[in-house]
Subunit: 202 residues, 2 copies
DNA sequence: GTCTATACAAGGATAGAC
DNA sequence: GTCTATCCTTGTATAGAC
């Protein structure tokens, strides 16, 4: 494996274990048996390293969503998609828990506002699609309400999990929050949708 | 005002403006016209300073909840309480946004698990009280579901607000997330409860 | 292109004089 | 209570070996 890849792999491992702020470039270098300066060569700033990891996480998430959009809208399909997303988020917990740092970096890098908007329309499309498919029954501003729920929940379930129930395994945590999400969706589900949800967890 | 108080006031101001990680002890000292060493005298570690600010925030929050418990359970009462809590959280945004740092500190300081449990039973008591008062209609595990919702939402609405809509003023942000909370509660409200909710926002 | 060694700046923390 | 001086760690930059 190339050094660059090794750095990324090892960094993520350390970030997940100790948090971004606690892991210094010297730590990473030591774990790899290379010099700190070598890190600087591959990633001039620690930010660059983090940004690369964030981009990879996002790429996997996007793939999950794309798979969803390539099929027929359904609640089980959506939950399966979110299971993939949650699992991926869990694998990058170190980045997500270091919220502040990550936010600062992304803020400088992207048109953050645009990314946020895209995220929202994304979910709105999904929910309206589920309504059209007869899975959800959405009145007046229910779709926007669900979008608000989804953006907050989808971003912070993992932080909540670590704060509230740090003893859970990855599978347990993902399933727990997937069920909470399903329960929320059930509040807006048609009879058909409720059947879909029940079948998903069997 | 004693130097100790001045330090706390100024620190919070700077933390809110720039984030905990971005504000150094030297910055705080310079803004106060005292030496960095003087800060160390009053707060040996930066952690100690943060911890004191967190404790004060919590004290105000507890006061909000105590006021609620001293009255008759009602949805408007609860929302009013949460408006106070949200407002207080907003005033301490710097601490809450520096999630990682704060969590590390609290983890060492308290029996964190116990605090989390207390928080949950707290909300459960509130929701069961609202059900008993005829405001909410809770079946089987609805109460636990709402508690899960409330702990996550109550902790992360402010982060979500800054990520998602950083342009909002304090009042706008607090009202926005208070309405989202109300909307969630409305999903479990009795006819009486729905009336209560509507009256609250008029 | 890849890596080591090393220097520098900035931040938290401490000791000791006043 | 307050200050100065100093130490240690961490992120960052670069000169130069291979």
């Amino acid at each position: 494996m190339k050094t660059r890849e090794k750095i990324l792999t090892q960094s993520l491992k350390l970030f997940n274990a100790q948090g971004m702020a606690q892991v210094g470039v010297r730590d990473i270098a030591r774990h790899l048996g290379v010099s700190p300066g070598n890190l600087s060569y591959h990633f001039p700033k620690k930010e660059d390293l983090v940004l690369e990891l964030v981009n990879r996480m996002r790429a996997v998430n996007d793939q999950c969503y794309n798979t969803y959009f390539s099929g027929i809208p359904s609640l089980p399909g959506f939950l399966q998609t979110m299971r993939g997303v949650f699992s991926n988020q869990y694998d990058h917990q170190g980045l997500l828990i270091g919220q502040e740092e990550m936010r600062r970096i992304l803020f400088n890098e992207y048109d953050y506002k645009a990314v946020e908007e895209r995220r929202k329309t994304h979910f709105k499309t999904i929910f309206l699609g589920l309504a059209a498919a007869g899975e959800l029954k959405l009145e007046s501003e229910d779709a926007d309400f669900l979008v608000s729920y989804m953006t907050l929940f989808g971003r912070f379930w993992i932080l909540e999990s670590f704060v509230s129930t740090p003893e859970l395994s990855k599978e347990e945590a993902v399933e727990k929050y997937l069920r909470l999400l399903a329960r929320q969706l059930a509040l807006f589900a048609t009879e058909q949708g409720k059947g879909s949800l029940n079948s998903f967890f069997e």
